[in-house]
Protein backbone atom coordinates (compact mmCIF):
# COMPACT_ATOMS: atom_id res chain seq x y z
CA UNK A 1 0.00 0.00 0.00
CA UNK A 2 2.71 2.42 1.01
CA UNK A 3 4.47 2.04 -2.30
CA UNK A 4 1.25 2.75 -4.18
CA UNK A 5 0.72 5.96 -2.29
CA UNK A 6 4.30 6.93 -2.84
CA UNK A 7 4.14 6.49 -6.57
CA UNK A 8 0.88 8.40 -6.66
CA UNK A 9 2.30 11.37 -4.83
CA UNK A 10 5.34 11.38 -7.07
CA UNK A 11 3.22 11.57 -10.21
CA UNK A 12 1.14 14.48 -8.94
CA UNK A 13 0.22 16.68 -11.84
CA UNK A 14 -0.14 20.41 -11.76
CA UNK A 15 -3.01 21.57 -13.90
CA UNK A 16 -3.79 25.25 -14.17
CA UNK A 17 -6.56 25.81 -16.60
CA UNK A 18 -7.43 28.94 -18.43
CA UNK A 19 -11.03 29.55 -17.57
CA UNK A 20 -12.29 28.08 -14.33
CA UNK A 21 -12.13 29.48 -10.85
CA UNK A 22 -8.69 29.57 -9.30
CA UNK A 23 -8.24 28.27 -5.76
CA UNK A 24 -8.99 31.02 -3.28
CA UNK A 25 -8.36 30.98 0.45
CA UNK A 26 -11.14 33.47 1.00
CA UNK A 27 -13.66 31.32 -0.77
CA UNK A 28 -17.09 31.48 0.85
CA UNK A 29 -16.46 34.89 2.37
CA UNK A 30 -18.14 37.94 0.88
CA UNK A 31 -14.68 39.28 0.10
CA UNK A 32 -13.59 36.31 -1.97
CA UNK A 33 -11.34 37.13 -4.88
CA UNK A 34 -14.09 36.35 -7.35
CA UNK A 35 -16.60 38.61 -5.58
CA UNK A 36 -14.13 41.49 -5.40
CA UNK A 37 -13.17 41.16 -9.06
CA UNK A 38 -16.64 40.51 -10.44
CA UNK A 39 -18.68 42.98 -8.43
CA UNK A 40 -15.84 45.51 -8.55
CA UNK A 41 -15.82 45.36 -12.34
CA UNK A 42 -19.60 45.33 -12.57
CA UNK A 43 -19.80 48.27 -10.18
CA UNK A 44 -17.31 50.26 -12.23
CA UNK A 45 -19.17 49.49 -15.46
CA UNK A 46 -22.29 50.96 -13.87
CA UNK A 47 -20.72 53.74 -11.80
CA UNK A 48 -18.28 55.25 -14.27
CA UNK A 49 -20.99 56.22 -16.81
CA UNK A 50 -23.03 57.74 -13.96
CA UNK A 51 -20.14 59.74 -12.53
CA UNK A 52 -18.68 60.81 -15.82
CA UNK A 53 -21.15 60.25 -18.67
CA UNK A 54 -19.15 62.29 -21.18
CA UNK A 55 -16.88 59.53 -22.48
CA UNK A 56 -17.97 56.48 -20.42
CA UNK A 57 -21.68 56.49 -21.21
CA UNK A 58 -20.78 57.18 -24.84
CA UNK A 59 -18.50 54.12 -24.89
CA UNK A 60 -21.22 51.98 -23.34
CA UNK A 61 -23.61 53.13 -26.03
CA UNK A 62 -21.07 52.46 -28.74
CA UNK A 63 -19.97 48.87 -27.98
CA UNK A 64 -23.09 46.65 -27.59
CA UNK A 65 -23.09 45.41 -31.18
CA UNK A 66 -19.41 44.61 -30.60
CA UNK A 67 -20.38 42.47 -27.61
CA UNK A 68 -22.93 40.71 -29.78
CA UNK A 69 -20.30 40.14 -32.45
CA UNK A 70 -17.91 38.72 -29.86
CA UNK A 71 -20.57 36.27 -28.72
CA UNK A 72 -21.47 35.42 -32.30
CA UNK A 73 -17.87 34.56 -33.13
CA UNK A 74 -17.43 32.66 -29.86
CA UNK A 75 -20.61 30.60 -30.00
CA UNK A 76 -20.36 29.67 -33.68
CA UNK A 77 -16.67 28.82 -33.30
CA UNK A 78 -17.24 26.69 -30.21
CA UNK A 79 -19.95 24.71 -32.00
CA UNK A 80 -17.68 23.97 -34.94
CA UNK A 81 -14.79 23.30 -32.57
CA UNK A 82 -16.92 20.76 -30.70
CA UNK A 83 -17.76 18.91 -33.90
CA UNK A 84 -14.13 18.97 -35.07
CA UNK A 85 -13.04 18.00 -31.55
CA UNK A 86 -15.34 14.99 -31.39
CA UNK A 87 -14.15 13.72 -34.77
CA UNK A 88 -10.52 14.39 -33.84
CA UNK A 89 -10.88 12.74 -30.44
CA UNK A 90 -12.38 9.62 -32.02
CA UNK A 91 -9.62 9.70 -34.61
CA UNK A 92 -7.00 9.89 -31.86
CA UNK A 93 -8.26 6.65 -30.29
CA UNK A 94 -8.97 4.95 -33.63
CA UNK A 95 -7.21 1.66 -34.28
CA UNK A 96 -7.03 2.55 -37.96
CA UNK A 97 -3.42 3.69 -38.35
CA UNK A 98 -4.14 6.19 -41.11
CA UNK A 99 -7.04 7.89 -39.30
CA UNK A 100 -5.12 7.88 -36.05
CA UNK A 101 -2.01 9.46 -37.56
CA UNK A 102 -4.04 12.04 -39.45
CA UNK A 103 -5.83 13.20 -36.30
CA UNK A 104 -2.62 13.26 -34.30
CA UNK A 105 -0.71 15.26 -36.90
CA UNK A 106 -3.57 17.75 -37.05
CA UNK A 107 -3.44 18.27 -33.30
CA UNK A 108 0.37 18.56 -33.28
CA UNK A 109 0.46 21.05 -36.13
CA UNK A 110 -2.34 23.28 -34.90
CA UNK A 111 -1.08 23.35 -31.33
CA UNK A 112 2.33 24.40 -32.60
CA UNK A 113 1.16 27.51 -34.41
CA UNK A 114 -0.02 30.63 -32.56
CA UNK A 115 -3.69 31.39 -33.09
CA UNK A 116 -2.88 34.87 -34.38
CA UNK A 117 -0.60 33.39 -37.03
CA UNK A 118 -3.33 30.89 -38.02
CA UNK A 119 -5.77 33.77 -38.32
CA UNK A 120 -3.40 35.76 -40.53
CA UNK A 121 -2.67 32.68 -42.55
CA UNK A 122 -6.30 31.91 -43.30
CA UNK A 123 -7.35 35.51 -43.93
CA UNK A 124 -4.32 37.04 -45.64
CA UNK A 125 -2.30 34.10 -47.01
CA UNK A 126 -5.09 31.77 -48.11
CA UNK A 127 -7.18 34.86 -48.79
CA UNK A 128 -5.14 35.34 -51.96
CA UNK A 129 -6.77 32.22 -53.39
CA UNK A 130 -10.02 31.98 -51.49
CA UNK A 131 -10.99 35.60 -50.79
CA UNK A 132 -12.87 34.64 -47.63
CA UNK A 133 -15.21 37.00 -45.87
CA UNK A 134 -13.40 38.30 -42.79
CA UNK A 135 -16.00 36.93 -40.37
CA UNK A 136 -15.89 33.53 -42.08
CA UNK A 137 -12.09 33.55 -41.97
CA UNK A 138 -12.13 34.50 -38.30
CA UNK A 139 -14.59 31.77 -37.35
CA UNK A 140 -12.73 29.22 -39.47
CA UNK A 141 -9.43 29.98 -37.78
CA UNK A 142 -10.92 29.87 -34.29
CA UNK A 143 -12.77 26.61 -35.01
CA UNK A 144 -9.78 24.82 -36.49
CA UNK A 145 -7.52 25.96 -33.69
CA UNK A 146 -9.89 25.15 -30.86
CA UNK A 147 -10.99 21.93 -32.56
CA UNK A 148 -7.50 20.58 -31.94
CA UNK A 149 -7.64 21.40 -28.24
CA UNK A 150 -11.19 20.03 -28.02
CA UNK A 151 -9.95 16.84 -29.67
CA UNK A 152 -7.57 16.28 -26.78
CA UNK A 153 -10.36 16.91 -24.28
CA UNK A 154 -12.59 14.35 -26.01
CA UNK A 155 -9.75 11.85 -26.20
CA UNK A 156 -8.89 12.24 -22.54
CA UNK A 157 -12.57 12.04 -21.64
CA UNK A 158 -13.12 8.84 -23.58
CA UNK A 159 -9.96 7.26 -22.19
CA UNK A 160 -10.97 8.16 -18.64
CA UNK A 161 -13.89 5.71 -18.86
CA UNK A 162 -12.87 2.36 -17.30
CA UNK A 163 -12.05 -0.40 -19.79
CA UNK A 164 -14.74 -2.62 -18.27
CA UNK A 165 -17.46 -0.39 -19.72
CA UNK A 166 -16.42 -1.13 -23.29
CA UNK A 167 -16.00 -4.82 -22.45
CA UNK A 168 -19.47 -5.03 -20.90
CA UNK A 169 -20.99 -3.39 -23.97
CA UNK A 170 -19.12 -5.68 -26.37
CA UNK A 171 -20.03 -8.74 -24.32
CA UNK A 172 -23.70 -7.82 -24.80
CA UNK A 173 -23.22 -7.98 -28.55
CA UNK A 174 -22.81 -4.28 -29.31
CA UNK A 175 -20.49 -3.09 -32.04
CA UNK A 176 -17.65 -0.76 -31.04
CA UNK A 177 -19.57 2.07 -32.63
CA UNK A 178 -22.73 1.31 -30.63
CA UNK A 179 -20.67 0.95 -27.47
CA UNK A 180 -19.09 4.37 -28.02
CA UNK A 181 -22.40 6.06 -28.82
CA UNK A 182 -24.59 4.41 -26.18
CA UNK A 183 -22.19 3.71 -23.34
CA UNK A 184 -18.89 5.58 -23.54
CA UNK A 185 -19.75 9.02 -24.93
CA UNK A 186 -22.74 9.70 -22.64
CA UNK A 187 -20.45 9.10 -19.67
CA UNK A 188 -17.72 11.18 -21.26
CA UNK A 189 -20.02 14.18 -21.63
CA UNK A 190 -20.34 14.58 -17.90
CA UNK A 191 -16.63 14.62 -17.24
CA UNK A 192 -15.67 16.85 -20.14
CA UNK A 193 -18.30 19.52 -19.54
CA UNK A 194 -16.07 21.63 -17.24
CA UNK A 195 -13.00 21.54 -19.52
CA UNK A 196 -15.24 22.43 -22.46
CA UNK A 197 -16.55 25.35 -20.42
CA UNK A 198 -12.98 26.44 -19.85
CA UNK A 199 -12.27 26.28 -23.56
CA UNK A 200 -15.34 28.40 -24.13
CA UNK A 201 -13.97 31.08 -21.82
CA UNK A 202 -10.52 30.90 -23.38
CA UNK A 203 -12.07 31.14 -26.85
CA UNK A 204 -14.17 34.11 -25.79
CA UNK A 205 -11.02 35.94 -24.74
CA UNK A 206 -9.05 34.86 -27.79
CA UNK A 207 -11.89 36.04 -30.01
CA UNK A 208 -10.54 39.56 -29.41
CA UNK A 209 -7.82 38.60 -31.89
CA UNK A 210 -10.33 38.75 -34.73
CA UNK A 211 -10.45 42.52 -34.34
CA UNK A 212 -7.10 42.52 -36.14
CA UNK A 213 -8.75 41.34 -39.35
CA UNK A 214 -11.33 44.10 -38.81
CA UNK A 215 -14.21 42.02 -37.49
CA UNK A 216 -16.09 44.57 -35.39
CA UNK A 217 -16.12 42.73 -32.10
CA UNK A 218 -16.04 44.30 -28.64
CA UNK A 219 -12.36 45.23 -28.82
CA UNK A 220 -12.69 46.60 -32.37
CA UNK A 221 -15.64 48.76 -31.41
CA UNK A 222 -13.77 50.15 -28.44
CA UNK A 223 -10.83 50.93 -30.67
CA UNK A 224 -13.06 52.63 -33.24
CA UNK A 225 -14.54 54.84 -30.56
CA UNK A 226 -11.12 55.67 -29.16
CA UNK A 227 -9.58 56.57 -32.47
CA UNK A 228 -12.32 59.05 -33.36
CA UNK A 229 -12.63 60.66 -29.93
CA UNK A 230 -9.10 60.12 -28.56
CA UNK A 231 -10.57 58.83 -25.27
CA UNK A 232 -8.09 55.93 -25.32
CA UNK A 233 -7.89 55.43 -21.56
CA UNK A 234 -11.63 55.52 -21.04
CA UNK A 235 -12.48 53.32 -24.04
CA UNK A 236 -10.04 50.53 -23.25
CA UNK A 237 -10.91 50.68 -19.55
CA UNK A 238 -14.55 49.99 -20.40
CA UNK A 239 -13.62 47.25 -22.87
CA UNK A 240 -11.40 45.52 -20.32
CA UNK A 241 -14.07 45.77 -17.63
CA UNK A 242 -16.76 44.34 -19.89
CA UNK A 243 -14.52 41.38 -20.87
CA UNK A 244 -13.81 40.83 -17.20
CA UNK A 245 -17.48 40.79 -16.18
CA UNK A 246 -18.33 38.33 -18.96
CA UNK A 247 -15.45 35.89 -18.37
CA UNK A 248 -15.80 35.96 -14.59
CA UNK A 249 -19.49 35.23 -14.96
CA UNK A 250 -18.80 32.18 -17.12
CA UNK A 251 -15.92 30.97 -14.97
CA UNK A 252 -18.30 30.95 -12.02
CA UNK A 253 -20.69 28.75 -13.98
CA UNK A 254 -17.89 26.36 -14.90
CA UNK A 255 -16.77 26.32 -11.27
CA UNK A 256 -20.26 25.32 -10.18
CA UNK A 257 -20.34 22.56 -12.82
CA UNK A 258 -17.00 21.23 -11.54
CA UNK A 259 -18.25 21.24 -7.99
CA UNK A 260 -21.38 19.32 -8.93
CA UNK A 261 -19.27 16.76 -10.70
CA UNK A 262 -16.96 16.31 -7.72
CA UNK A 263 -19.82 15.76 -5.32
CA UNK A 264 -21.02 12.92 -7.51
CA UNK A 265 -23.76 14.54 -9.55
CA UNK A 266 -26.61 12.18 -9.09
Amino acid sequence: MASVNESESRSTQITVSDGALIPDRGEGSIFSAWNIAFFGALGLVILLPVISPEPYLEVIRFVPDGILKTFQVTVISIIFALVIGLVTGLGRISRNVFVNRLATVYVEVIRGIPLLVQLFYIYFALGRFLSLDRLVAAITAMSICYGAYMGEIFRAGIQSIPKGQMEAALALGMSRRQALRLVILPQTMRTILPPIGNEFIALLKDSSLVSIVAVSDLLRRGREYASTTFFYFESYTMVALIYLVITLFFSKIVGIMEERLETGGR
Binding site: P162, G164, Q165, E167, A168, A169, L170, A171, L172, G173, M174, S175, Q178, L182, V183, P186, Q187, R190, G264, R266
Partner: protein
Protein backbone atom coordinates in the same frame (compact mmCIF):
# COMPACT_ATOMS: atom_id res chain seq x y z
CA UNK B 1 -19.04 -34.21 -29.41
CA UNK B 2 -22.08 -32.46 -30.77
CA UNK B 3 -23.74 -32.43 -27.39
CA UNK B 4 -21.28 -30.00 -25.85
CA UNK B 5 -22.47 -26.42 -25.63
CA UNK B 6 -19.01 -24.94 -25.03
CA UNK B 7 -16.02 -26.77 -26.41
CA UNK B 8 -12.53 -25.43 -25.73
CA UNK B 9 -9.87 -27.32 -27.66
CA UNK B 10 -6.15 -26.93 -26.97
CA UNK B 11 -6.35 -23.19 -26.38
CA UNK B 12 -3.18 -21.23 -25.79
CA UNK B 13 -3.10 -17.50 -25.08
CA UNK B 14 0.12 -15.53 -25.09
CA UNK B 15 0.55 -11.90 -24.08
CA UNK B 16 3.86 -11.05 -25.67
CA UNK B 17 6.19 -13.67 -24.21
CA UNK B 18 3.91 -14.52 -21.28
CA UNK B 19 1.86 -17.68 -21.67
CA UNK B 20 -1.35 -17.04 -19.77
CA UNK B 21 -3.12 -20.18 -20.98
CA UNK B 22 -1.31 -23.34 -22.16
CA UNK B 23 -3.04 -25.91 -24.28
CA UNK B 24 -6.24 -25.89 -22.22
CA UNK B 25 -9.23 -28.03 -23.17
CA UNK B 26 -12.61 -28.39 -21.55
CA UNK B 27 -16.24 -28.91 -22.49
CA UNK B 28 -19.50 -27.80 -20.98
CA UNK B 29 -22.64 -29.76 -21.88
CA UNK B 30 -26.01 -28.05 -22.22
CA UNK B 31 -27.42 -27.29 -18.79
CA UNK B 32 -24.14 -28.11 -17.11
CA UNK B 33 -22.49 -25.88 -14.50
CA UNK B 34 -18.70 -25.93 -14.58
CA UNK B 35 -16.57 -24.16 -12.01
CA UNK B 36 -12.97 -23.21 -12.78
CA UNK B 37 -10.72 -22.76 -9.76
CA UNK B 38 -7.03 -22.05 -9.39
CA UNK B 39 -4.53 -19.60 -7.91
CA UNK B 40 -4.50 -16.01 -9.15
CA UNK B 41 -2.56 -15.74 -12.37
CA UNK B 42 -3.40 -19.30 -13.31
CA UNK B 43 -5.08 -18.14 -16.52
CA UNK B 44 -8.65 -19.03 -15.58
CA UNK B 45 -10.08 -15.55 -16.25
CA UNK B 46 -8.14 -15.27 -19.48
CA UNK B 47 -9.51 -18.60 -20.65
CA UNK B 48 -13.05 -17.47 -19.79
CA UNK B 49 -12.55 -14.22 -21.69
CA UNK B 50 -11.46 -16.19 -24.74
CA UNK B 51 -14.88 -17.84 -24.84
CA UNK B 52 -16.62 -14.62 -25.97
CA UNK B 53 -13.44 -13.31 -27.57
CA UNK B 54 -12.81 -10.42 -25.23
CA UNK B 55 -9.38 -12.00 -25.59
CA UNK B 56 -8.39 -13.70 -28.82
CA UNK B 57 -6.93 -17.15 -28.37
CA UNK B 58 -3.43 -17.38 -29.85
CA UNK B 59 -3.84 -21.05 -30.71
CA UNK B 60 -6.61 -23.62 -30.52
CA UNK B 61 -10.33 -23.48 -31.08
CA UNK B 62 -13.43 -22.61 -29.13
CA UNK B 63 -16.93 -23.60 -30.18
CA UNK B 64 -20.33 -22.53 -28.93
CA UNK B 65 -22.60 -25.26 -30.31
CA UNK B 66 -21.75 -25.18 -34.00
CA UNK B 67 -20.27 -21.66 -34.09
CA UNK B 68 -16.52 -21.36 -34.06
CA UNK B 69 -15.67 -18.40 -31.79
CA UNK B 70 -12.07 -18.47 -32.89
CA UNK B 71 -12.91 -18.06 -36.58
CA UNK B 72 -11.35 -14.67 -37.39
CA UNK B 73 -13.92 -14.12 -40.16
CA UNK B 74 -16.85 -15.27 -38.04
CA UNK B 75 -19.51 -12.91 -36.76
CA UNK B 76 -18.45 -12.59 -33.14
CA UNK B 77 -21.28 -10.19 -32.34
CA UNK B 78 -23.89 -12.83 -33.18
CA UNK B 79 -22.14 -15.31 -30.90
CA UNK B 80 -21.84 -12.74 -28.10
CA UNK B 81 -25.60 -12.17 -28.21
CA UNK B 82 -25.98 -15.75 -27.03
CA UNK B 83 -23.21 -15.69 -24.43
CA UNK B 84 -23.95 -13.62 -21.35
CA UNK B 85 -21.09 -12.42 -19.18
CA UNK B 86 -20.92 -11.26 -15.59
CA UNK B 87 -17.80 -9.40 -14.47
CA UNK B 88 -15.95 -9.16 -11.20
CA UNK B 89 -16.53 -5.40 -11.05
CA UNK B 90 -20.12 -5.55 -12.33
CA UNK B 91 -19.43 -2.96 -15.06
CA UNK B 92 -22.97 -1.60 -14.97
CA UNK B 93 -23.47 1.52 -17.06
CA UNK B 94 -23.42 4.29 -14.44
CA UNK B 95 -25.39 6.81 -16.52
CA UNK B 96 -28.40 4.49 -16.82
CA UNK B 97 -30.94 3.28 -14.26
CA UNK B 98 -31.10 -0.39 -13.33
CA UNK B 99 -34.02 -0.88 -15.69
CA UNK B 100 -32.32 0.95 -18.59
CA UNK B 101 -29.15 -1.04 -18.02
CA UNK B 102 -31.12 -4.23 -18.59
CA UNK B 103 -33.28 -3.03 -21.48
CA UNK B 104 -30.53 -1.30 -23.50
CA UNK B 105 -28.90 -4.22 -25.32
CA UNK B 106 -32.05 -6.14 -26.34
CA UNK B 107 -33.40 -2.96 -27.89
CA UNK B 108 -30.24 -1.72 -29.59
CA UNK B 109 -28.58 -5.00 -30.48
CA UNK B 110 -31.55 -7.23 -31.24
CA UNK B 111 -33.86 -4.41 -32.27
CA UNK B 112 -36.69 -5.62 -30.09
CA UNK B 113 -39.62 -3.26 -29.47
CA UNK B 114 -39.20 -0.96 -26.51
CA UNK B 115 -42.22 -2.32 -24.66
CA UNK B 116 -41.03 -5.94 -24.89
CA UNK B 117 -37.58 -5.08 -23.58
CA UNK B 118 -38.93 -3.12 -20.62
CA UNK B 119 -41.43 -5.81 -19.72
CA UNK B 120 -38.69 -8.40 -19.71
CA UNK B 121 -36.38 -6.07 -17.79
CA UNK B 122 -39.02 -5.71 -15.06
CA UNK B 123 -39.54 -9.46 -14.90
CA UNK B 124 -35.80 -10.02 -14.61
CA UNK B 125 -35.37 -7.39 -11.92
CA UNK B 126 -38.10 -9.10 -9.93
CA UNK B 127 -36.39 -12.43 -10.48
CA UNK B 128 -33.15 -11.17 -8.92
CA UNK B 129 -35.15 -9.66 -6.08
CA UNK B 130 -34.80 -6.00 -7.02
CA UNK B 131 -38.25 -5.10 -8.32
CA UNK B 132 -38.20 -1.93 -6.20
CA UNK B 133 -34.91 -0.67 -7.68
CA UNK B 134 -36.03 0.01 -11.25
CA UNK B 135 -35.13 3.67 -11.17
CA UNK B 136 -32.00 3.40 -9.05
CA UNK B 137 -28.68 4.32 -10.61
CA UNK B 138 -25.79 1.90 -10.04
CA UNK B 139 -24.12 4.32 -7.60
CA UNK B 140 -27.22 4.08 -5.40
CA UNK B 141 -26.99 0.28 -5.16
CA UNK B 142 -24.83 -1.92 -2.96
CA UNK B 143 -22.24 -4.19 -4.57
CA UNK B 144 -24.48 -7.23 -4.22
CA UNK B 145 -27.41 -5.40 -5.76
CA UNK B 146 -25.26 -4.14 -8.63
CA UNK B 147 -24.06 -7.65 -9.38
CA UNK B 148 -27.63 -8.93 -9.40
CA UNK B 149 -28.61 -6.20 -11.86
CA UNK B 150 -25.59 -7.19 -13.95
CA UNK B 151 -26.81 -10.79 -14.02
CA UNK B 152 -30.28 -9.61 -15.07
CA UNK B 153 -28.68 -7.44 -17.78
CA UNK B 154 -26.87 -10.46 -19.22
CA UNK B 155 -30.02 -12.62 -19.02
CA UNK B 156 -32.05 -9.99 -20.89
CA UNK B 157 -30.33 -11.05 -24.11
CA UNK B 158 -31.73 -14.55 -23.49
CA UNK B 159 -28.33 -16.22 -23.79
CA UNK B 160 -27.86 -19.95 -23.95
CA UNK B 161 -24.60 -19.73 -22.01
CA UNK B 162 -23.56 -17.60 -19.05
CA UNK B 163 -19.96 -16.80 -18.17
CA UNK B 164 -19.13 -15.60 -14.66
CA UNK B 165 -15.72 -14.02 -14.04
CA UNK B 166 -15.17 -14.08 -10.27
CA UNK B 167 -18.66 -12.68 -9.65
CA UNK B 168 -18.30 -12.48 -5.86
CA UNK B 169 -14.64 -11.48 -5.45
CA UNK B 170 -15.35 -7.75 -5.26
CA UNK B 171 -18.17 -8.13 -2.76
CA UNK B 172 -18.28 -7.66 0.99
CA UNK B 173 -18.85 -11.03 2.70
CA UNK B 174 -22.43 -10.26 3.72
CA UNK B 175 -23.41 -9.65 0.09
CA UNK B 176 -21.94 -12.80 -1.41
CA UNK B 177 -24.89 -14.98 -0.51
CA UNK B 178 -27.50 -12.88 -2.30
CA UNK B 179 -25.52 -13.16 -5.54
CA UNK B 180 -24.84 -16.87 -5.12
CA UNK B 181 -28.55 -17.48 -4.47
CA UNK B 182 -29.38 -15.90 -7.82
CA UNK B 183 -26.72 -18.01 -9.53
CA UNK B 184 -27.97 -21.13 -7.80
CA UNK B 185 -31.50 -20.45 -8.98
CA UNK B 186 -30.17 -19.94 -12.49
CA UNK B 187 -28.33 -23.26 -12.35
CA UNK B 188 -31.47 -25.03 -11.16
CA UNK B 189 -33.39 -23.51 -14.07
CA UNK B 190 -31.03 -25.33 -16.39
CA UNK B 191 -28.73 -22.54 -17.57
CA UNK B 192 -25.38 -23.60 -18.99
CA UNK B 193 -22.78 -21.88 -16.85
CA UNK B 194 -18.99 -21.54 -16.89
CA UNK B 195 -17.92 -19.94 -13.64
CA UNK B 196 -14.53 -18.74 -12.45
CA UNK B 197 -14.87 -18.66 -8.68
CA UNK B 198 -13.62 -20.16 -5.45
CA UNK B 199 -17.02 -20.42 -3.82
CA UNK B 200 -16.88 -23.99 -2.52
CA UNK B 201 -20.42 -23.89 -1.18
CA UNK B 202 -21.76 -22.92 -4.58
CA UNK B 203 -19.61 -25.57 -6.24
CA UNK B 204 -20.96 -28.34 -4.04
CA UNK B 205 -24.54 -27.16 -4.38
CA UNK B 206 -24.65 -26.44 -8.10
CA UNK B 207 -21.55 -27.50 -10.02
CA UNK B 208 -21.55 -30.63 -12.16
CA UNK B 209 -17.84 -30.35 -12.71
CA UNK B 210 -14.89 -28.55 -11.16
CA UNK B 211 -11.79 -27.74 -13.20
CA UNK B 212 -8.51 -26.89 -11.49
CA UNK B 213 -6.07 -24.69 -13.40
CA UNK B 214 -2.54 -23.75 -12.46
CA UNK B 215 0.10 -21.89 -14.40
CA UNK B 216 -2.13 -21.70 -17.48
CA UNK B 217 -2.81 -25.42 -17.63
CA UNK B 218 -5.84 -27.52 -16.82
CA UNK B 219 -4.45 -29.79 -14.11
CA UNK B 220 -7.47 -31.90 -13.32
CA UNK B 221 -11.23 -31.96 -13.45
CA UNK B 222 -14.04 -33.98 -11.99
CA UNK B 223 -17.12 -33.75 -9.83
CA UNK B 224 -16.86 -31.32 -6.89
CA UNK B 225 -16.56 -34.29 -4.53
CA UNK B 226 -13.72 -35.84 -6.52
CA UNK B 227 -11.72 -32.64 -6.83
CA UNK B 228 -12.33 -31.21 -3.37
CA UNK B 229 -12.30 -34.36 -1.29
CA UNK B 230 -9.83 -36.60 -3.07
CA UNK B 231 -7.76 -34.59 -5.55
CA UNK B 232 -5.51 -36.69 -7.73
CA UNK B 233 -2.81 -34.08 -8.25
CA UNK B 234 -0.38 -32.70 -5.71
CA UNK B 235 -0.82 -29.14 -6.99
CA UNK B 236 -4.58 -29.34 -6.54
CA UNK B 237 -4.14 -30.57 -2.99
CA UNK B 238 -1.74 -27.74 -2.16
CA UNK B 239 -4.07 -25.14 -3.58
CA UNK B 240 -7.08 -26.52 -1.70
CA UNK B 241 -5.08 -26.53 1.54
CA UNK B 242 -4.46 -22.82 0.98
CA UNK B 243 -8.01 -21.72 0.45
CA UNK B 244 -9.89 -23.99 2.85
Amino acid sequence: MADSRIRIENVTKRFGTVQAVRNASLTVAPGEVVLVIGPSGSGKSTLLRCVNRLETATEGDIWIDNDRVTDPRGNIRMIREEVGMVFQNFNLFPHLTALDNIALAPRKVKGEPKQTTYERARTLLARVGLADKEDAYPSQLSGGQQQRVAIARALAMEPKVMLFDEPTSALDPEMIKEVLDVMLQLAQDGMTMLVVSHEMGFARAAADKVVFMDNGEVIESGTPEQVFDSPKEERTRKFLDHIL
